[in-house]
Amino acid sequence: MKGAMTALFLREWRIARRIGGGASTGAVFFLILVAIMPFAIGPDLNLLGRIGPAILWIAALLSTLLGLDRLFQGEDEDGSLDLLVNARLPLEIVVLVKCAAHWTTSALPLVVVSPLFGLMLALDARALGLVAASLLVGTPALTMIGAIGAALTVSLRRGGLLMAVLVLPLTIPVLIFGVAAASAASGGAAPFLMPFLVLCALSLATIAGAPFAAAAALRLARD
């Protein structure tokens, strides 16, 4: 079982690398989202510094969603999803491994570059660290919740928009606690530790629960 999991994980990595621009497109999208905010809000550095953590979190939320609609669609199109569903490896584990691979190829780069973009939004050093830390523990929850949406819309040709409509309301708690933790440095209302721990709890809970929902959705798309 461990061998199968490793093989699946490596396969996902290889596909993400060869398909071109998986991680880098996500990061560029992240950059563009951050870059258009000052155009809309105005280049006032004080204001940007205050709402910077929120901008980074919304940008991360949207760029995480961007790649997720393809999470199972490629497999559904070329038929390998049938093999995965019928494999000896439980489908829940398959979902978990695919999400882990997707997270490391698309969300982790965002976490890595977020301090750089935070710098452009005039965040101070402590805020940069807090934003990166909150994104690091919060994005797994976004990926797992998104996987449910991706599994529900797997067989739809134009499922991307519908998936966003289905998934975004469910990500609100993650967003609230993520921004609360990230903005603790720049004079946020709450202290850092409590929202941060709730964020960890949300990630752990979705990692434990979401694979079952996503696997159930994938199975029903088969029959």
Binding site: I148, L152, T153, S155, L156, G159, L162, V165, L166, L168, P169, L170, I172, P173, I176, F177, A180, A190, L202, G209, A213, A216, A217, L220, A221
Partner: protein, 253 residues
């Protein structure tokens, strides 16, 4: 519950129950509306307090209907009840409608009381999210063509949303809230004056009965719609010159 699994039994029962339900709803609404307009105005809010008699029942139904849909989703996924998906599909637009009434009346009530139509307050925001979840469910129903698969996808999403709704509710409680806390169902009895409470309870009952009536009618319509679809398919197959060969091929294979 299981005797209702037969659509014909359900239709017969609905046929018998609906006139009574509709009459009871109308009677309760007559009494409730009369009481709402004759109840004394609030000592602080004046006449605007009458919006409460629409707002609070709609708010109660907006979460009650989600509870009904969660039960129906369990019925689809766990107990495989044949009518559960029809019940769930029928409830989603009703839930969206009552949630919209709740948001609209609350907004109209907020203008004279708070001085603004909308604030990003905890309660308002979580009801808005509930409204969006209803709309997402309706969109999912409409997008997946195969009714059986749409039913199960919507059921999974309903259950996920049911897990998430309390989290949304409590997470937005972190924000400083303008909306008043619960005043009817609370420990130590209601804090609301009895002459205002009675019309409210009757209106809540009237709204609930209205939902039950509309829900039964919608389930009936859904069953009939499925029958029409199936009969149309059969008729089309009979008119189709290839259909007998296909049927023979299917029988052979």
């Amino acid at each position: 519950m299981w005797s209702l699994a037969n659509p014909t039994v359900f239709l017969a029962l609905a046929q018998r129950a609906l006139p009574g339900l509709a009459a009871a709803t109308a009677a309760l609404f007559a009494v409730g509306l009369w009481l709402s307009f004759t109840a004394p105005p609030d000592y602080q809010q004046g006449e605007t307090v009458r919006i409460m008699y629409l707002h609070v029942p709609a708010a109660w139904l907006s979460s009650f209907i989600y509870g009904v849909m969660t039960l129906a989703a369990l019925g689809t996924l766990v107990w495989r009840h044949p009518l559960a998906d029809a019940a769930q599909k029928a409830a989603a637009p009703l839930g969206a409608g009552f949630t919209f009434i709740c948001l609209a009346t609350g907004s109209l009530w907020g203008k004279p009381m708070w001085g603004t139509y909308w604030v990003w307050d905890a309660r308002l925001t979580s009801v808005l999210v509930l409204f969006i979840i209803y709309l997402g469910l309706i969109a999912l129903w409409r997008t997946i063509e195969d009714a059986r698969r749409a039913a199960r996808a919507a059921a999974i999403l309903t259950l996920v949303g049911a897990v998430d709704l309390p989290i949304i509710k409590f997470s937005v409680d972190w924000w400083n809230t303008l909306h008043q806390p619960a005043s009817v169902f609370r420990l130590g009895g209601p804090t609301i004056a009895p002459e205002l409470l009675w019309p409210l309870l009757i209106m809540s009952l009237a709204f609930t009965l209205l939902f039950v009536t509309l829900h039964v009618m919608a389930i009936r319509n859904e069953i009939l719609r499925r029958r029409v679809a199936r009969l149309t398919m059969i008729a089309a197959a009979q008119g189709d010159s290839l259909a007998p060969q296909l049927a023979a091929g299917a029988a052979k294979g």
